[in-house]
């Protein structure tokens, strides 16, 4: 079976050019061990472990593919996985471990924004290129010019959903219910509100809860009284599903809207009927028929012998890894400045779409809107930036 798939043309082209490059620069001793190590910082334990485990699987798939294809510049690619537990302080510590002990040439991750914010200054200080696939907080890449991001940022996502609400759903009023103790949830809510109000809508009710809460009746009763057209629920699927159920039984008729945190097959297991008829923004849709997506899903399913399609966490981290690997190949060396400039010049298509970095080193990317229907995620539309 051909593991390299659709991007094999680009990859092998880059690889062959890099191979010749490495032949000349190989003697410079950039990687004595004969391997190129890239650090991968993910939460493998703790309350967001599920995301990290997804990301890890995707990167392991990438590692196999790249090595089967001749590695990076003729050297073996190794991802060094470390667990940040979803805690910023741990991310900083393990980041230093990667840089100092494992001598990685670059870092993929961290997965959550808080951890990314914590590790970014260190990566910048040591001039180690860091590419986060999922740290959507806009501040992350502002830390410095070695920090890159392959996903869209919270303001964009907020804008996309708000636009959907205003123009497609013709919503006049919106309510929000978000986790005040979670940076991601709170960030999305703020950005949604900004855009929605800019579009002329009105946020009639903005309620919060704290991570771990399971009973939202108080907030929902209050929201029900304002009778909003849409209810924005920017949190992870496990919480959202619980909220949705309670919201329906509290008599809220509004259409539910959400962000990329919704993406999971388990959304329907928990939420049942209540989550049907909702819309959320995402990085990619498994229904997408583009060659990259089809190939990725196929490879992923066969490697892990599963029928479940990989979630966005998998796709995004795969992309971050791939962008980094291709840039190193293009740079033809593991010198950090070379990798940095290769990243800056990157222009290619990966699973979640076309990637090219803007002056803030953020990917300029499209988003997809997914509609939930009959217990399934269906592709609704694609929104260009």
């Amino acid at each position: 079976q051909n593991a390299s798939g659709s991007s094999s043309a680009a990859t092998s082209a880059a690889a062959s050019s890099a191979a010749s490059g490495s032949a000349s620069s190989g003697s410079s001793g950039a990687a004595l061990s004969g391997e190129v190590k890239i650090g991968a910082v993910m939460p493998l334990t703790g309350s967001v472990a599920a995301f990290g485990q997804s990301g890890q699987k995707a990167l392991q798939l990438l590692e196999d593919q790249v090595n089967a294809d001749g590695g990076i510049n003729g050297q073996k690619l190794t991802f060094v996985f470390v667990d940040d537990e979803g805690k910023p302080a741990t991310a900083a510590t393990v980041g230093k471990k990667l840089i100092d002990n494992d001598k990685v040439v670059a870092i993929v991750g961290p997965l959550t924004s808080n951890c990314a914010l914590s590790l970014a200054p260190i990566a910048q200080q040591y001039k180690i290129p860091m590419v986060t696939g999922t740290g959507t907080n806009e501040k992350v890449t502002k830390v410095g010019d070695f920090i890159f991001r392959t996903c869209f940022i919270d303001p964009f996502q907020g804008k996309v959903v708000a636009k959907l609400a205003s123009s497609d759903l013709k919503a006049q009023t919106a309510a929000m219910l978000y986790d005040n103790g979670n940076d991601y949830s709170k960030g999305l809510a703020q950005n949604f509100q900004k855009s929605f109000e800019a579009n002329g809508g009105k946020v009639v009710s903005s309620e919060t809860y704290l991570t771990g809460d399971k009973d939202f009746n108080a907030q929902l009763t209050k929201i029900a009284a304002t009778n909003p057209d849409v209810l924005f629920l920017p949190d992870y699927y496990s919480t959202v599903a619980v909220i949705a159920k309670q919201a329906r039984s509290a008599g809220i008729k509004a259409t539910f809207l959400g962000g990329d945190g919704w993406d999971s097959a388990d959304l329907f297991k928990i939420g049942g009927d209540a989550v049907n008829g909702a819309y959320f923004s995402n990085h990619y849709s498994p229904d997408d028929t583009s060659a990259e997506v089809v190939q990725f899903i196929k490879d992923f399913k066969s490697k892990y012998n599963t029928t479940d399609a990989p979630d966005a966490m998998a796709a995004l981290n795969y992309d971050a890894g791939k962008v980094l690997v291709q840039s190193i190949q293009k740079a033809g060396s593991t010198d950090s400045a070379a990798i940095q400039s290769a990243l800056k010049a990157y222009d290619g298509t990966v699973v979640s779409g076309h990637i090219k970095f803007d002056e803030n080193r953020d990917a300029i990317k499209s988003a997809v809107i997914i509609k939930t229907d009959g217990g399934k995620e269906t592709f609704y539309t694609k929104v260009e930036p």
């Binding site: 493998l44 334990t45 900083a92 914010l117 914590s118 005040n180 103790g181 960030g187």
Partner: protein, 319 residues
């Protein structure tokens, strides 16, 4: 007095030697940034553990909210420094003072609570602080405060730790310390001996908060990024664990257990997910062994014939 000065000089000399050795190792990159980061975290944790020790082991007041003061110190010093450009040390001091003031204010009404009631109240206070910070946008809210300049160096944390050890040692081995210990031993008897127990409880609590605030400041300027969730009560529980494993009172035990327990998760890192299971397992085993061990050591002491222990009616009924 002479013996005190002698001991003081020896302590200082020893710490200078330790510092020089470590400093050279760091400069020559024998101890790389990763290890030195761990080293610095250990020093900061020691400050925190010793300040918790003062409250829990010396004064006998169970607090589960010490990380609140750490948070207050961290946010206050970082915020002050970033907004006023105050020199590093002064902003640390400001942070500690703010923490101490909070310690005083919360201690005043709550310290008349006993045992578990105090524990749950301090835990509650800790959660209140976390939620409060989450709601203050100027501090970054839940998204955390980024962009704190990296001012904490090894020299800073090391000498801060030495100073903390010295100061707390001096407090404990003075009249105030004796009063605190008597509060732990028997509040009613202490009162009868003319000791204003409330005053010493508050003194201990406020002092503890001061050092926790200071350590929080060091932490903020080391990490360059802080977020409220890092300071929730689970963090406080870490300190309680350090202190309890360190044994009653002693500084050495507390420092040793803090160092080991801070290091342990890093050492166990190679185990992957499993370390999160191994760590609590070790904790339980150590706790049980420690009790057995106390029996063994007291047995050895008795055998040497020095003491005639008498802990009456405290054994064996249900065995």
């Amino acid at each position: 007095m002479k013996s005190y000065i002698k001991r003081g000089v020896i302590f200082l000399a020893a710490s200078l030697v330790v510092f020089c050795v470590l400093f050279v190792l760091i400069q020559t990159d024998v101890i790389n940034a990763y290890y030195s980061q761990i080293l610095m975290v250990i020093c900061i944790n020691i400050i925190l553990a010793l300040s918790t020790n003062l409250i829990i082991n010396y004064t006998g007041q169970l607090t589960l909210g010490h990380s609140a003061f750490m948070a207050i110190g961290a946010y206050a010093s970082a915020f002050i420094q970033m907004n006023t450009g105050l020199p590093f040390f002064l902003s640390l001091l400001c942070g500690s003072v703010v923490a101490a003031v909070f310690g005083f204010l919360i201690g005043l009404p709550t310290l008349r609570l006993k045992g578990d009631y105090l524990a749950i109240t301090t835990l509650g206070f800790c959660q209140i602080v976390v939620v409060a910070i989450q709601n203050i946008d100027a501090l970054g809210g839940a998204q955390g405060l980024a962009g704190i300049p990296p001012k904490t160096t090894f020299a800073w944390v090391f000498f801060s730790m030495i100073a903390t050890i010295a100061i707390l040692y001096n407090i404990v081995h003075a009249n105030q310390g004796r009063a605190m210990i008597s509060v732990r031993e028997d509040e009613i008897a202490a009162e009868a001996m003319g000791i204003d127990t409330t005053r010493y409880k508050i003194m201990s609590f406020t002092t503890g908060a001061f050092f926790a605030g200071y350590a929080g400041g060091l932490y903020a300027f080391l990490m360059m990024f802080i977020d409220p969730n890092s300071f929730n009560f689970l963090k406080s529980i870490d300190f309680v664990i350090y202190v309890v494993l360190g044994g009653t009172g002693g500084f050495v035990g507390c420092i040793a257990s803090t160092s080991i327990l801070t290091l342990l998760p890093e050492v166990l890192r190679f185990l992957g997910d499993l370390r999160m299971v191994i760590y609590p397992l070790l904790l339980i085993v150590i706790m049980i062994l420690r009790v057995k061990n106390i029996r063994v050591t007291s047995f050895l002491r008795r055998k040497s014939g020095a003491a005639k222990p008498k802990e009456r009616g405290e054994d064996h009924a249900a065995a």
